[in-house]
Amino acid sequence: MASKTPTISDPRVSLPGLDLKNPIMTASGTFGYGLEYASFGKLEDLGAIVVKGLSLKPRAGNTMPRIAETPCGMLNAIGLQNIGVERFLEEKLPALPHDTTPVIANLYACDAAEFGELAAALAADERMGALEVNVSCPNVAAGGQAFGQDPKQAAAVTRAVKDAAGDKPVMVKLSPNVADITTVAKAVADAGADMLTCINTLLGMAVDLKTRRPRLANVVGGLSGPAIKPVALRCVWQVCQAVDIPVIGVGGISNATDVLEFILAGAHAVQIGTANFMRPDTVFSIVNELPILMNGYGVMTLDDLRGTLET
């Protein structure tokens, strides 16, 4: 009997400055500094680890309550509480499997110059894989998504980070809270971004009829979870039509099928966020399921599927 060599789907993906064993990243703000989830799976199995947004100095974040559960989603107004770049580099980064899985820092600062300073501090550490610029946080008073809503400011921040980042790849995380996301995407791409992350949370709110108060102390917050997947998919598709740099899709992805849908819409890789709260091993499960699902659809490599959506 003639033997047949079984075909095995290959989930590897190549990004500017990063070769990933699979396209599955964690989403900033949902995976702590990585170590919080180390007992639920092998961190080294992940495509990349994007850690909690970092600022130059530690930040306390917003007042409580700062999370609220809504149908198929959650609102957060954490306000970028973090331990600051110095403590991150000293205490957290050494414990992450940075030699086998790229660690990507998410950056937040109040102006372009501070973004540059932060980027320089992170890029100077050879253990950093890439930088993700947060110009889209809806939960901070200064800067935040205001940077990401103005193409000029977004471009200025991107240039400042690129100038300071040396050879580290720079991705910019875009806000969906704009009239036309492609305008900002183009401005950021023209300013030198290597990749784009689409999307950050959608601005939302929830109220409590019993107390007649907002459910978040901040009144408004960022909506994430399965509820926003159609918006994220739309944004990824639109941005992929508008720019030539790789797009990382994020928003409501909770299984391997969702991942392939985002790849089909044009994404190079994806980030898993709120779904990790639903089950803390979600991101690891998706890593395992993806090649099997690819095989089931006859997809040998993600390049074969990427952007092949027929419209």
Partner: protein, 249 residues
């Protein structure tokens, strides 16, 4: 399995018994996150519950159905598969000294395991304040499982009863102030009162806090409280048990 139900049927408590998860290391006062398949995509978070008992026959949780998640869990059927992650958090200190356990309502849950696992249970005293009928809670279990400990209960039938209960708690804390340990679990206003009384009498006290939790593992930062240094600390991973003099409440 319902422990009891109010006449209105709106609020009820029940025990959820799960297969033994085989955890070799856990401490009384730790908690688990639970998701039932009926949560689907609609209820994003797991729900946090203190470990009530963990023995070879299984893991028991004591739950008051008062929100969307706990209500769905109350409708679970025998044989349903639930997702559980734990044991989470830090747990209560276990010391060989007179220990006063102060439980308010469903806050009685962790003290069953605590008493069962204490090396000198005759040094334990449990004071239990409750608003629902006593048979609603696993109070008799506590007496049966650990007959050596001293137990007393107080049924708060009206708001006027509260000062009487708090006076009882205050006196008990005062009696444990010099060489004992005070532990408390229950509603936040109750814990706040215990914290104030412990400070007044100079008692060493641990409080088990409850808060909305997105992840249960310290990642989402949605459950923080302020410590006395003014820093936000996660209730799920830095607690849920805190020394009362180290947190703001």
């Amino acid at each position: 399995m319902p422990f009891g139900q109010t006449s209105t049927g709106v609020t009820h408590c029940f025990a959820l018994r799960l297969e033994d998860p085989g955890w070799s290391h856990w401490r009384p006062g730790q908690f688990v996150m639970v998701r039932h398949p009926s949560f689907g995509l609609e209820l994003i978070w797991g729900r946090a519950f203190s470990i009530s008992r963990l023995v070879s026959s299984g893991l028991s949780l004591f739950i008051q159905a008062q929100g969307r998640g706990s209500e769905r869990l109350s409708a679970a059927n025998p044989g349903d598969k639930v997702t559980v992650w734990g044991p989470l958090g830090n747990g209560f200190a276990i010391q060989d000294k007179r220990t006063l356990m102060l439980a308010g309502g469903v806050g009685i849950a962790p003290f069953l395991a605590y008493a069962e696992n204490h090396p000198t249970p005759h040094k334990l005293e449990l004071i239990f304040g409750h608003r629902l009928p006593l048979e609603t809670y696993p109070f008799d279990n506590a007496k049966t499982l650990v007959p050596e400990m001293t137990v007393s209960s107080f049924h708060e039938r009206s708001p006027e009863d509260l000062p009487v209960f708090l006076e009882m708690v205050d006196e008990a804390i005062m009696n444990h102030a010099t060489s004992g340990l005070v532990l408390a679990c229950g509603p936040t206003p109750f814990l706040r009162a215990v914290k104030q009384m412990a400070a007044k009498h100079g008692a060493m006290a641990q409080l088990s806090l409850e808060n909305k939790m997105g992840c249960g593992v310290g990642a989402c930062l949605g459950c923080v409280i302020k410590d006395t240094k003014g820093e936000n600390v996660q209730v799920c991973s830095k607690g849920p048990v805190f020394w009362s003099h180290k947190i703001e409440l």
